[in-house]
């Protein structure tokens, strides 16, 4: 990664809550670092663990998955399934040397623009402190 883009964070945001939350951050002029590259997905439950592993394999320093709060999923239960998968995936990644801090899951609603900005800011700061990943 080039110096000015480090750390590179990939963000998977659910269409119904978190992406709208990021939008809200924009319209309410809440600034956050541009290190995050956002991908809009229909639901946090759609985020296949393979996508996350692939991000790390292709050089991402960190991955954020954000979805509707439990109970608020547009598809009723997508984030519940996702939650289980992410819990196990984070353990496996950590076991293989991708520190657990580098993979974060957050629930962000459409009205939480400021909170989204804070999450990304904090995450970026933490990743800057941790430095780039050591091995691929």
């Amino acid at each position: 990664m080039s110096e000015n883009s480090a750390p590179l964070i990939i963000g998977f945001l659910c269409n119904w809550c978190s992406y709208a939350g990021a939008d809200m951050a924009g319209t309410s002029r809440a600034a956050y670092p541009s290190n995050i590259r956002i991908l809009r997905v229909p639901c946090s439950g759609r985020v296949d663990p393979m996508m996350i592993v692939k991000c790390f394999q292709e050089g991402a320093d960190a991955v954020l998955v954000a979805g509707c709060h439990p109970g608020d999923c547009h598809y009723n239960e997508g984030n519940y399934y996702g939650r289980r998968r992410f819990a196990l995936l984070r353990e496996l990644l950590d076991f293989m040397g991708v520190e657990r801090e580098r993979f974060r899951v957050e629930w962000v609603s459409a009205s939480e623009g400021k909170r989204f900005a804070k999450i990304v800011t904090d995450f970026t700061n933490e990743m800057t402190k941790m430095g780039p990943r050591k091995a691929s």
């Binding site: 663990p49 393979m50 592993v53 692939k54 394999q57 439990p70 109970g71 239960e77 519940y80 399934y81 939650r83 289980r84 998968r85 992410f86 819990a87 196990l88 995936l89 984070r90 353990e91 496996l92 990644l93 950590d94 076991f95 293989m96 040397g97 991708v98 520190e99 899951v105 957050e106 629930w107 990943r133 050591k134 091995a135 691929s136």
Partner: protein
């Protein structure tokens, strides 16, 4: 004991083939080295004398039922293998009434390679808590009382390393992998008609036989077995470059046990942890 087991398996196989209960008996026979077992497919009662059972019968024969879906087949299973039956039954990959299960109370399986046979029990036997098959239509041997839960000392040892050391360790392993997919081919839980590894669009794993691709393969292979691995450890046994694949499977097994109190393949009815959820569970995710 081994010769007694062999005798019982032969007699049952003869009976099943003679009365037409099954078309084929999948068991073990002596391999070309004369000292270790290999899978055997017996179609005629006249051939049952080929069947043997001893402590080199390492293969998980349940894998082969996936090729025999439409026919009634008898299969010899050890305790760990039998859990694969429940896995495949719960995932609707095999039909219970097409499989006649000859369960063997497992005496423990030793390390063996072609023309090499040690008296050292395999690692999986140290971890094993299921010597008596959980599914069977006919049992060979007397059911035993199972040991209390095994600890995960191997996983803990790996976790004592720093993240950097762990990354380096798996990088080293990935450098050895030749992507022969023997781990997948031997695994009873790996039965997708189209495996992600061969998908071209999206190309989840590139074509190179190189560390990055191997690591992607090994990570996802393990994850696709999260909550499904039944600990037969065939993946690790068949690996021609001796990758410590059990470590990945066991890490996930440990976590699945801890978070969901679940052991794969113990019953046909309990849903695997990743195809269900509880609304108010705490998993350490976004809390």
């Amino acid at each position: 004991m081994a010769s007694d087991f062999t005798q019982q398996i032969r007699e049952k196989a003869r009976e099943l083939l003679e009365d037409g209960t099954v078309e084929c008996v999948i068991g073990y026979e002596t391999g070309s080295d004369g000292i270790s077992a290999r899978p055997a497919f017996i179609y005629n009662a006249a051939d049952v004398e080929r069947l043997v059972f001893d402590n080199t019968c390492t293969h998980n024969l349940v894998k082969y039922l996936l090729n025999k879906k439409a026919k009634s087949t008898a299969v010899v299973v050890k305790g760990c293998d039998s859990r694969a039956l429940n896995l495949l039954l719960s995932e609707r990959q095999i039909e219970r009434d097409k499989a006649f299960v000859v369960g063997v109370v497992c005496p423990g399986i030793v390390e063996s390679r072609w023309n090499e046979r040690s008296e050292q029990l395999q690692k999986r036997c140290d971890w094993c808590r299921q010597h008596t098959p959980v599914v069977s239509d006919f049992m060979v041997g007397d059911p035993v009382t199972e040991q209390p839960p095994a600890d995960f000392a191997d996983v803990a040892e790996e976790e004592a390393k720093t993240a950097e050391e762990r990354a380096a360790f798996w990088q080293q392993q990935a450098e050895r992998c030749i992507r022969c997919y023997a781990c997948r081919q031997a695994c009873p839980g790996c039965y997708c008609t189209d495996c992600f590894a061969e998908s071209l669009d999206p190309e989840w794993v590139g074509i190179r036989i190189a560390p990055a691709e191997s690591q992607m393969w090994n990570t996802i292979r393990a994850f696709h077995l999260a909550g499904r691995c039944i600990s037969c450890n065939e993946c690790e046994r068949v690996c021609p470059v001796n990758l410590p694949l059990s470590l990945l499977n066991r890490k996930l097994e440990q976590k699945v046990l801890e978070l969901f109190d679940y052991r794969a393949g113990m019953s046909e009815d309990a849903p695997a942890p990743l195809i269900t959820f509880k609304k108010d569970e705490k998993l350490g995710i976004a809390e």
